[in-house]
Subunit: 428 residues, 2 copies
């Protein structure tokens, strides 16, 4: 029997805008940041649950305020009750009738819920002595289905559908765990492709990516089509015909512009076009998907919740689904999204990078491989090689694959020294 | 030449949950609240711009933090530049690349932008000595189009489309201004229909609504179908066959449930079913609209932005469009939504009630009548008769119609004494 005694927050910001790491057509100067939280209990095990929302700078204090607004849902609560009924715990946050008005299920308040839910999963996994992916992969189909809120989903995915998918994958779980621990999970890298980099830096980093064993890289596009053609040519000539090259427009275009732009890039054999337009625009994505075929449309990192993912799948508006660890309502909602993707037969290729996103999201793809889709075919997790040193259990990529984490927890714990060093002045 | 010298915020909460005013199937105990702001300048005219986001209690402090995050966009800026280029001003907020990550264009941060934009319009209207509806109604079609961000809209509404709609309505503007000042704008009332009210109170208030001259009332539904049937019968028997009765499920249902539920209420001649399911679910609303026809589907009060409204219209997912004064990015974005509705020929019946929403949104419908749609046919503005006394220029409804405001400003200024009396302890 233990009790939550504190929800501690901090406003952590890394001054990444000075190096143009992370620059794209819509985000020219991000300062990668984390609205960070720790859940502290009175158990004598020294274990804490850590979580965060990734932001890109200004407004990180608003996100911290969102997390703090959830303290009343946690402090004083019985820890075993919270962790033992994670479906109920999730619903308690999302269906708080007053807080719900601030979304509903979108933006600052929903991301705050996601961070707190993820911190609880971190604590639960640490208590179990397992990495999150393994904890989830060893839950029964019935336990997993209980985590999911099916309201607004049943026209596409019922509890019975979900159980069916999970039960079908159950027999191979042990073998896939072994395979994952031996071989890891395929990664691709965005490191070469930021818009702010020179042609020389692009070519050098693209060459290094191939040498490092990556089978796919990604380039930011959308600011200037002639620049994009030049950069795609450099990238393709550098990596050769066998390496996949994805493109990412970061919401820059309307429908016609997206189709026309991609027609000019198609000659370079594009693996996918990511975020061609507003992440809210299901119908526009569907029109773009028809217009740029056979180039697949990839999106999801800015999609607010499972209800949006459901519709993108129903409307054939995406062919590659990109979950994000800190945009939706945490692990529970991402499991719902993985099941939706499995139901529609669409591959999941998570968004990562930023700060801590690689550390967090790898657990979800690995769980998907072991217990949901049962495959890594056509699936890759994004990787960007910066800021990992700030995490207690940093993501490890070797020869183009994420190594399966073995440390207990969700991967979301940042070093106390990093939190202190990069604490934003004037907050916390 | 004047300069913004301060953005002052306050966290104002009215303890409405004690009376069950405002209770519905999803919001059993709202405390109507305002995340409030004042824009103060160094001009010697004593004029301030006031705005707010309506919330229902917990989390209002997060909304206040969102508004504060915009101070750097305002303080020190030239007032005439800001007010003289409101399209540019809007884009400056919405396209702040770092703040945008917190939405994009949804939730706390987007509502914060809406409140600040509305406060600027309040100041602009006060400086012009006109009520907002009249200020807008006297702008040229070209000036109005300049207010709108057409990114993500042009597959449904181009600047040329918008100009065409506004130019077509221009000849009748003066006559409609006169008509509005004489006759007001039709209202309907939700006062009788809260779920928390007894049958006796429902019947009494429904009778009073008819006596007060309203031609439409609305009942909350969705908690229990047998209760809903009983309450609809009482309401219909009380008001007779000629008064319209709308219903509002406040996002309670999935697709099948909505269709089945409304089949059981159809015998009472339902004017519309409002928010049958998640406000994000375009495809589900479209399916429900097909399933409940000829009952129209009404929605919009929780819709995050113009991109969502666009898709609901494209998909025939609503037949009555409900704008809200403080959910989207303020006056500019609501003008875009009014033009979308006009393009698709769908009537706009605003959401109001709460605190200050009647005061604010009436200006938008009146502008729509004078300069956009040119009609009040099939159009009504929601009215709930509480909390108006806290506003400097309270909404006035007489014989079932909103009187056209004549005081300068946007209607969004709350008495300083009310702000002080209902300031939430521990914040501001």
């Amino acid at each position: 029997m233990s009790t939550v005694i504190a929800l501690e927050t901090s406003d952590v910001r890394f001054p990444t805008s000075t190096s143009l790491d992370g620059s794209d057509a819509m985000n020219p100067d991000p300062d990668y940041s984390a609205a960070y939280l720790r859940i502290v209990t009175d158990a004598d095990d020294d274990l804490e649950g850590h979580g965060f929302v990734f932001t890109i700078g200004r407004g990180n204090e608003v996100q911290v305020a969102g997390i703090r607004a959830l303290a009343d849902h946690l402090v004083g609560r019985n820890v075993e009750d919270l962790l033992g009924n994670m479906g109920e715990t999730w619903r308690g946050f999302v269906w708080d009738s007053q807080l719900r008005w601030l979304g509903p299920e979108k933006g600052v308040m929903h991301m705050a819920i996601g961070a707190v839910v993820n911190a609880l999963w971190d604590l639960k996994a640490k208590r179990a002595g397992l990495p999150l992916w393994q904890l989830l992969s060893r839950m029964t189909p019935e336990q997993l289905v209980e985590l999911i809120d099916f309201r607004y989903l049943t026209d596409a995915l019922t509890p019975e559908d979900a159980l069916g998918i999970l039960r079908a994958a159950a027999p191979g779980r042990a073998a896939r765990e072994t395979e994952l621990l031996a071989s890891g999970y395929p990664a691709y890298t965005t490191t070469p492709g930021w818009l702010g980099y020179s042609d020389e830096k692009l070519a050098r980093l693209a060459g290094e990516a191939v040498a490092d064993g990556f089978s796919m890289i990604k380039l930011k596009v959308g600011a200037n089509v002639d620049d994009d053609i030049r950069r795609m040519r450099i990238a393709r000539e550098t990596v050769g015909p066998d390496i996949r090259i994805g493109t990412d427009a970061n919401q820059r275009w309307g429908v016609d512009e997206a189709i026309e732009w991609m027609a000019r890039l198609a000659e370079f054999d594009v693996a996918w076009i990511e975020e061609p337009t507003s992440p809210d625009d299901i119908l526009a994505h569907a029109a773009i998907a028809r217009g740029v075929a056979p180039i697949p449309v990839a999106t999801g990192e800015h999609m607010a919740n499972r209800i949006m993912f459901k519709q993108f799948l129903q409307a054939d508006a995406l062919q590659v689904l990109q979950i994000d660890a800190t945009r939706v309502g945490g692990v529970n909602e991402n499991i719902a999204i993985l099941l939706l993707a499995a139901k529609f037969g669409v591959p999941v290729c998570p968004h990562a990078g930023g700060v801590g996103l690689c550390e967090a999201v790898q657990h979800l793809s690995m769980f998907d491989f072991v217990a949901v889709s049962g495959t890594t075919e056509q699936r890759v997790i994004e990787y960007v090689d910066h800021l990992h040193e700030h995490f207690v259990t940093p993501a490890m990529v070797r020869r183009g694959a994420y190594r399966a984490p073995v440390a207990p927890g969700a991967g979301t714990e940042m070093h106390a020294s990093s939190r202190a060093e990069y604490a934003f002045p004037g907050h916390d």
